[in-house]
């Protein structure tokens, strides 16, 4: 029955590419030594890690000593924020600024810190999903320790004015952290030019495996450890080095950043046509700015239907997509991102996110534009909330 298939959930996760897997494989079996050991198979792993650190630093405009390996984006976000405020607690900096539509790795970290005596300002975002740098400036206080604003929102794909926000933070001597998990491979990152003090990355969002991430921490900034123990990662993050993962994320990042221009050129027209095509369906709206968004993200609300059932119908037709972020799937809460941009809870339950990969093509586009309206029609036919456009 199913005539075609399109995985359109690249923002949730991506497959490990063959090139990355091949680079990793030797480190599972032959070259498995502990990178902290002094004999040769250990030193060989140490050399592979040094190499990866240097390579990643170059991809981000950083220094190798500023690159720390973690278990993923969530750990990086947690470490950056908790580590920074812990290191600053003697200076009585007990205020944190973030936004209402961050990933839960940031939001729940902030909430945890609220329970531990910190105060958090959650900045609003505009109806097109943008953070206003002026809002950041207004929120900064003398006791502000850190500002955390994401580079690219994971649900609606909007690209934030990171560089300006960083500049404002530096003018006020406040640390600036950004969650760049969804930015890698889509937009250029240069930590120095963009005034970034700390930056989180997660490998599996760009064809490296799950369970490996990076935190960039600018030289001279001291953050407390999140995971204490052995002297790995220059004494800042304990745990036997995941050499295979480290080699994998290095290779994947290199490939991702070298294809940004090509990817944007290729995908932007598809994204635009997809948006136009889907907005032909009655009772739909685009979530997030039409221009200031990454080239592979489309997010629409569709009146009268509920997201999960649409996702399942689409899956049966070979299209993998998501509704709200993958992390909140299975929860009944409407997406906090969509409510942050002003959607009613009902429309927040009715969203469809399509995020596509480098190889997205004309056939994929046509297939989605054929199948989505059919599935929407089917669900609207049984919906008590849909009266053909006039509720």
């Amino acid at each position: 029955m199913q005539t075609h298939s399109v995985y359109a959930d690249y923002s949730a996760t991506t497959p490990v590419s063959q090139e990355v897997l091949q680079a990793m494989l030797p480190y599972f079996t032959e070259s498995f030594g502990n990178a902290s050991s002094i004999y040769q198979i250990g030193r060989k792993n140490e050399a592979a890690i040094l190499n990866a650190r240097a390579n990643i630093a170059q991809c981000l405009g950083a220094d190798p000593k500023e690159i720390y390996f973690t278990s993923g984006g969530s750990e990086s976000d947690n470490w950056a924020i908790k580590g920074a405020v812990d290191a600053l607690k003697m200076q009585r900096k007990r205020h944190i600024i973030t936004t209402a539509f961050e990933h839960h790795a940031v939001l729940n970290t902030c909430q945890f810190l609220e329970n531990h005596g910190f105060e958090v300002t959650y900045l609003p975002v505009s109806s097109n999903g943008m953070v206003n740098p002026q809002d950041v400036e207004k929120a900064i206080r003398s006791d502000t320790a850190i500002v955390s604003v994401m580079c690219v929102n994971n649900e609606i794909g909007t690209i934030q004015p990171i560089s300006q926000i960083g500049e404002i933070c530096h003018e006020h001597s406040v640390l600036f952290h950004t969650d760049a998990v969804q930015a890698i491979g889509n937009i250029e990152i240069d930590v120095k030019q963009q005034n970034i003090d700390m930056l989180s990355i997660s490998g599996h969002k760009f064809h490296a495996p799950k369970g490996i991430g990076v935190l960039y921490v600018r030289n001279g900034i001291n953050i407390s450890n999140l995971i204490h123990g052995g002297g790995q990662e220059m004494g800042k993050r304990a745990g036997t080095e995941n050499t295979a993962g480290i080699v994998g994320i290095s290779k994947a990042l290199e490939i991702a950043v070298s294809h940004i221009a090509e990817k944007n050129e290729r995908l932007t027209p598809f994204r635009n046509r997809l948006i136009e095509g889907l907005l032909q369906i009655k009772g739909t709206r685009l979530n997030g700015d039409r221009i200031q968004r990454v080239c592979n993200n489309v997010n629409i609300s569709i009146e009268g239907i509920e997201g999960e059932s649409l996702i399942l119908l689409l899956d049966m037709q070979g299209i993998q997509a998501s509704s709200g972020s993958a992390c909140s799937a299975g929860s009944l809460e409407p997406s906090h991102v969509l409510t942050a941009i002003g959607l009613e809870r009902e429309s927040a339950h009715s969203s469809l996110r399509l995020t596509f990969g480098e190889n997205f093509n004309e056939t994929d586009l046509q297939y989605i534009l054929k199948v989505v309206p059919e599935c929407v029609e089917k669900l609207r036919n049984i919906s008590p909330l849909w009266k053909g456009g006039q509720k």
Binding site: G304, I305, E306, E308, S309, L312, L313, M316, A329, G330, L332, P334, R345, E346, H349, N381, I382, S383, P384, L385, W386
Partner: protein, 129 residues
């Protein structure tokens, strides 16, 4: 989240879906805010449910639940229908994932609400006559 074959089958081919013209009773339950809303329509002849239809806004489990519920109602007396429980519905679907165990309550409530609607109207009519 693993749905039984039965659930998926009802989801893809829902029975008795859509609005009913001139129903004898209508019941609504759930809340759009929670992401679930179900309307149950009944035709009742001689104390027996001759036809049941539904409309649901909600997840796969909610839709399958409504669909199977309309099947379960078919041919039942009002008293029998009143005794329909959540676990009857879950059983008819070969089970539901733990996260979705609230769905049958919504359907059950919609049925109860339709039936009391009917009984209220009926009682009134009876009295008036």
């Amino acid at each position: 989240m693993n749905y039984s074959q039965k659930v998926l089958e009802h989801f893809v081919n829902p029975r008795n879906s859509g609005e009913m013209e001139n129903p004898d009773a209508v019941g609504v339950s759930g809340s759009e805010k929670c992401g679930d809303i179900t309307r149950i329509y009944l035709n009742i002849k001689n104390n027996i449910i001759s036809e049941a239809k539904f409309q649901t806004f909600g997840c796969c489990a909610a839709i399958a639940t409504s669909s199977v519920t309309t099947e379960l109602l078919q041919g039942k007396t009002i008293e029998q229908a009143m005794q329909l429980t959540e676990s009857d519905i879950v059983q008819a679907l070969d089970g539901l994932p733990p996260d979705k165990m609230h769905c049958p309550a919504v359907a059950e409530q919609a049925v109860k609400s339709a039936l009391s609607d009917y009984q209220a109207k009926h009682a009134k009519k009876g009295k008036l006559l």
